[in-house]
Every structure is written in C-alpha cells, then in structure tokens.
C-alpha cells in the first residue's frame, strides 16, 4: 500500500508503555508518510492519546521504537522532540490564555533563532481571524478560534509533523467543520498530520489513512475511505450502519 518505507516521516514500532505500573499500550504500530493526514480512532481508554504522548516523550516506553525520518527518538524528552520538528497540540489548555494571539504564536517560535516574522505573516494569511485579533488575549477567543491559535502556534516552527489531540473535543458541530477545514488547510501546506479524534466519521473523511486502536493494540488500519466503508468499524465507532 505504501509507496516507500524510506519516505515515512513518523513511525511507531510495536511500542509498549504506560503510566507508572499501569500499562496502556501493548504493542502499537503506526506510521505517517509525507503529506498525509492520519487519524487514530477507537473507544475510550483504548490508548489513543497515550500513543500520541508516547511520540512526544511524555511517557516512558518499556518496549518498541519511535522513529522520526528514520532517526530513533524513543523516550526523548519533549523539548528535544520539539527541536527535532515535531509539534504537539494537546487536547486542553493548548494556548496561553493571558498572552495575546500574536504572543502565543511568538512562543510557538521560541526555539527558532531566525526571524519568524515572515512565518507569522504566512500563518495570518492562512488564519485571517487571527490576524484580526492579534492583539487580543487568547483566553478571550471563542473555542474554535482558540484551536486555530493552538494550531497556528504549533505551525510556527514549520514542523516535520503536527500531532493533534482531539482538536474538536467540546466544540459545537459548526466549529467542528471549521476545524476539520483548518486541518486540511494546514495539511495542504505540506505538513503531515497525526490526529486523535472522537468524531470518527468526519475525521476519516478528511484522512488519508486511519488506525483503530482497541485496548492498547492495533485493531484495524486502512485508508480513510476503506475504514468508513468497513462494516465492523462502522458498527463499532461510527454510530451504526455503513454510510450511504
């Protein structure tokens, strides 16, 4: 199915781990290829977010490997991972509420040593509402706009890959659509995206590929379209019945 192993941006290879003594991931494997949107879905407690945190060095892996462009980044501390070009947008508290929009984006560029102004302008072009509210404290924005700030902040680094943890959680259906549109826009600039989502149906629609995790293990994988079509997946996660 994949065109070439060499091109893989991010690869999780049989990772095992959890918090303290509680093991959550029992051998999860996945990969993200250049330009892809990859979605992780699954029931509550399946280890979706945990798998993502594993990439970011937020939990200790007792087995398996995480590779970025072929380089081993297993158990690398988060700040190092950022330096390697992986940006992560957590599900909650993903912006600095008392900082202005522009300051949030500036913080996103903290590790950059070059001039980030051009990049800032590019992102304002992608997210016009943010340009409008650049001087406003980010905490005063609406939920959808906050997600925009969070993503734009992560994009400031021009990352190799963007990790999104449930970007639509807690948003109204209207905003959800907006966010998925933004995800596509970001992806269109060439940044591959790995995303955990609850709203599986909508997410799979925009995804190149998807993984279904159950109990900390891979259950299904396939292209977004295939998974949407798959009767079993549909029954389990997509609110019953195959799509029309």
């Amino acid at each position: 199915m994949s065109n070439s192993e060499l091109q893989t941006v991010l690869e999780l290879d049989q990772i095992i781990g959890g918090y303290g003594d509680t093991q959550i991931l029992h051998g999860v494997s996945m990969r993200v290829d250049p330009g892809e949107i990859v979605v992780i879905i699954g029931p509550n407690g399946a280890g979706k977010s945990t798998a993502m945190k594993a990439v970011f060095g937020l939990l200790n892996l007792s087995g398996g490997k995480v590779r970025l462009n072929g380089e081993d980044i297993t158990n690398m501390p988060p700040d190092q991972v950022v330096h390697h070009g992986v940006c992560y947008v957590p599900q909650t508290s993903n912006i600095f509420p008392s900082l202005t929009v522009e300051e949030n984006l500036e913080m996103g560029a903290f590790v950059r040593t070059d001039d980030f102004r051009p990049r800032l302008q590019e992102l304002y072009d992608i997210f016009p509402p943010l340009a409008e509210k650049r001087r406003q404290a980010a905490g005063t924005l609406s939920g959808g706009q906050r997600q925009m700030v969070a993503m734009a902040k992560a994009m400031m680094l021009e990352p190799q890959i963007l990790l999104l943890d449930e970007p639509t959680a807690g948003l109204s259906p209207k905003y959800r659509g907006e966010i998925f549109a933004i995800v596509k826009t970001v992806n269109a600039t060439g940044t591959p995206i790995l995303m955990v989502e609850q709203n599986a149906k909508q997410a799979l629609k925009i995804a190149n590929r998807g993984y279904v995790l159950v109990d900390g293990k891979n259950k299904f994988e396939g292209s977004g379209h295939d998974l949407l079509e798959d009767a079993e997946v549909a029954e389990m996660f997509l609110g019953g019945g195959a799509p029309p």
């Binding site: 003594d21 977010s49 945190k53 599900q91």
Partner: protein, 328 residues
Amino acid sequence: MDQFYGIFLYIISLLTMGGIYAILALGLNIQWGFTGLFNAGIAGFFAIGAYVSAILTTAPSLRHLGGYELPYVVSFAAAMVVSGIIAWAVGKVCLKLRADYLAIATIGIAEIFRLILKNETWATNGPRGVSMIPKPFETLPEPWNHLCFLGLILAVIVVIYLLLETARNSPWGRVMTAIRENEKSAMAAGKDIEKFRMEAFVAGCMLMALAGAFIAHYLKFIGPNATDPLTSTFLVWVMLVVGGSANNRGAILGAFLMWTIWSASEILTSRLPDELAIRTAYIRIFLIGLALQIFLQRFPKGIFPEVRPKPERRQSVSDGVTDNATSR
C-alpha cells in the same frame, strides 16, 4: 557524683522538652502526615494552649486575667477545647485553600494571635507574660518532681500514640490517606472531604494546645517570646520531616532527636571562645535548616518511613503533564 546527677537531671529536661515537642509533632503529623494540611501556624495554637492553661491555674494577679486556680485536668482540657474551637473557625475559612495558601494563611493567623497576646494586656499581661504558673508535682522532692512531670508527659504521649495508631488503622485513617493521595478520587468515592480535613485540623490543633499547656507549666512562665515561629513552628516541621512524616513513631523520634541536637549542640559550642560562640549560635540555626534540606532531598521519607495501614496498591500520579492522560 554531682556531675552524674547533673547530667541525669539534664537528660530529664531533654526528655521533657523533647516530649512536649513530640506532642506538637504528633499534632502536626495528623495534619500534614496523614491529611496533607500545611499548617505553618503551629506557634499560634501552641500559644493558645499555653495561655489558657496558665490563666486558669494561676493565683490571682493584678497583672493579668486569672485567679481561677483550677485543677490541671480542667485547665488542660480547657486549653484543648479553646484551641479546638478556634481551629474550627480557622479551618472553616482556610481549609479550602491549597497547601501553599493554607501555609501563608496559618502563618498570618499565628502572627495575629501573637499580636493579640501582646496587646490585650488586661488578659495576658501583654509582652511581660504570665508568671508564677504552678507546675504539677513541684512539691515533691527533687528529682521526683522532675521525674513525675516527665512521666506524665511520656504517659500522655503513649496515650496519644495508641489513639492515633488506632485511628490510623481505622476506616477514618484510610480515608485520610486517600484524601491526601488523591483528593478527586476520594471525593468521587462520596467522602465528605471537608469534614475529614476539618477533623484532622482540629484534632492536630488540640494536641498543639496540649503541648502549649505543658510548656506553660514546665517553664512556670509564659510570654509572647516563648511562641516565636523559629522554635515553635519551624523546629516542629524539621522534627516531623526528619523523623518521618505520616509515621507516628517517626514524629516522636524526630522530636526527641532534634531537640537533643538543638539543645546539646550548645554544650559543645559554649566551649568556643566567646566571640565565636556568639556567632556559632547562628551556625546552629543554619545547620538545623541544612538538616531539613538534606532530609528532604536524600531521605524524603525520614528515619521511619510511612507504613501503610493496609497495603493497597495505588496508581502513583506521574508528573503533571500527563494529568489528563488516563481519560479517553
């Protein structure tokens, strides 16, 4: 011979003061060790106990409220009750706060108590304090007077220890531990956390007042300077941390050990030339602070680590980043 008898008397006094501190440390242990309440105002409750018992037992005096000449049993009980009531009021307003805030609030409250003791001269004789406080067993011949007083304190410690151990192993104690470890899950389990914390706070403050009552009778004098934060709050914290918080034996051992070091180290430094002896008085304080740091870093569990009432494995909470990790 005199020398040995003198050292014998000194050891009695070490044990007496150590015992009084042990009561303080046990009180703090209920609050901090078992329940996780950061009380930095120990001196305040200690002072309340000391003054209440002093005023209730002294002969009439023009200098302060008094002349009740009540028996010790009554005055000690009153000291604890008054402190308990005040602790309840303080707890009512402060216990909702997170540990750091509670620390600041209690330290402030203790300072306010101190100001009251200094300014309400009609009741406390202000900064000049209450003198000629009777002391239990003082009419007995030496050394029996000292020994009996010490015996009383040690007996009280044993009683407190047994009570606390019973409580710790009871369902009440397990709830306390659960609250300290994970407030949210304890709350989820339907426990009225505020009530439990209040009970622990009040019980701890009552013990501190008991220790205060003992000190007033032991010194036969009580003044605002006897309740300064250094030796009445801070030293108790060091004792508990060194001995092992959440362990009652640790609290007791820490108190005796640290008081002995605090007191006996001066016997050595007093042999220095005076200019140096004066300065080394500060080195002692420095070293006590350093001891605390060393224990915090190297032996955070103290000499006697906590022994869980029932070994139930609890998922340890990893660092804050992963707080919402287990959801979804």
